[in-house]
Amino acid sequence: MECSRIKKKLSAYLDGEMPEQERKIISEHLQQCDECRAELSALSAVGDALNTIEGMEVPPYFMTRLRQNIGEQAELVPFLQRIKGLVVTAATAVAVVASLFIGNQAGKTIYQSIAQTPEPVLAETSDILGLGTFIEFPDGSLSDIYNELIAGGNSG
């Protein structure tokens, strides 16, 4: 095995993380190769340096605080569920009221727009039915004579 490949395996070699066969090959290589032996020594020194980093003691009140936190969360969860139910009910009520209001307003607006524009509609309709022809009777027509007879006394 080449030195470059051996060097990449030295970390796993130090951790005892390789099959016995491979371990044997590397051990034999290390006996013959100064460079790889120096590399192993350097990696080992890195491990020693790392071991100077201490851990952190668990504070004595850790479990007490943990119990408190869990207790608070246990109280909080049903409260949030109740709040969630209330929020859903309130949102539904708001939606119903809003839809009634909007429907009412829309109805009023449509009614007003219809109520404000009756004449053009009637005029158009009278034109279509030909009712305009009865507003003034043609001169000398029976209708005109009849009309004059009725109104005759007044017109002189």
């Binding site: 890195v46 340096a49 790392l50 952190m56 850790f62 479990m63 605080r65 969360q73």
Partner: protein, 187 residues
């Protein structure tokens, strides 16, 4: 205290009790693993300030999700997976406001680990090593912490980090090679 005879699946039986709401069983698990959880978090994030809060969150997660543990892996693997995810998320969120050890000492705030060191040279070595570890990429640092300090096997690290065995080997190797390069004057 709960007495369980079989040593192989003690944790699996305890976590079942925890899932049923047994607070005594939960305390038993916390006492068993709290030191390992503290050490792993501290060695990974590099400062003591947030370790306890993170440990609290992790054990609360264990309490609330105990029912989800199906026994497909060892309990410790499941727990370490929670620890790893929490730590990595923490580092991602706090990258910008992360304070290095050098900055801490400049401000006169001495980390607890330094206080017990007998001489200045030793303290300086610890400081340099810590800083070098702190500068490693997230996954390299976590793989190194689990292999070097927690003495987890590569197989278990692969399960915890959900990566292949060869990836673990590569991460640990690259972490040590980077440290060797950075600490060339120290080691």
């Amino acid at each position: 205290m709960i007495k369980i005879d079989s040593k192989d699946d003690v944790d699996a039986q305890i976590i079942k009790l925890v899932a049923e709401g047994d607070e005594g069983a939960f305390e038993q698990l916390v006492h068993k693993y709290q030191q390992a959880v503290f050490n792993t978090i501290y060695r990974y994030i590099g400062n003591q300030d947030d370790v306890q809060d993170l440990a609290q969150e992790i054990f609360i997660k264990v309490w609330r999700n105990a029912g989800k543990f199906k026994g497909k892996s060892k309990f410790s693997t499941w727990l370490y997976r929670i620890v790893v995810n929490h730590c990595i998320n923490y580092r991602r969120k706090n990258k910008r406001r992360h304070v290095s050890l050098d900055e801490l000492t400049e401000k006169g705030r001495t980390p607890e680990a330094f206080k017990v060191e007998p001489d200045w040279e030793q303290r300086r070595t610890v400081q340099l090593v810590r800083k070098a570890v702190d500068e490693l990429p997230d996954r390299q640092r976590m793989a190194l912490v689990l292999a070097q300090f927690e003495e987890k096997s590569y197989k278990e690290i692969a399960e915890i980090m959900k990566i292949s065995l060869s990836s673990v080997e590569s991460l640990v190797f690259r972490a040590r090679a980077a440290l060797r390069h950075k600490l060339v004057k120290v080691v």
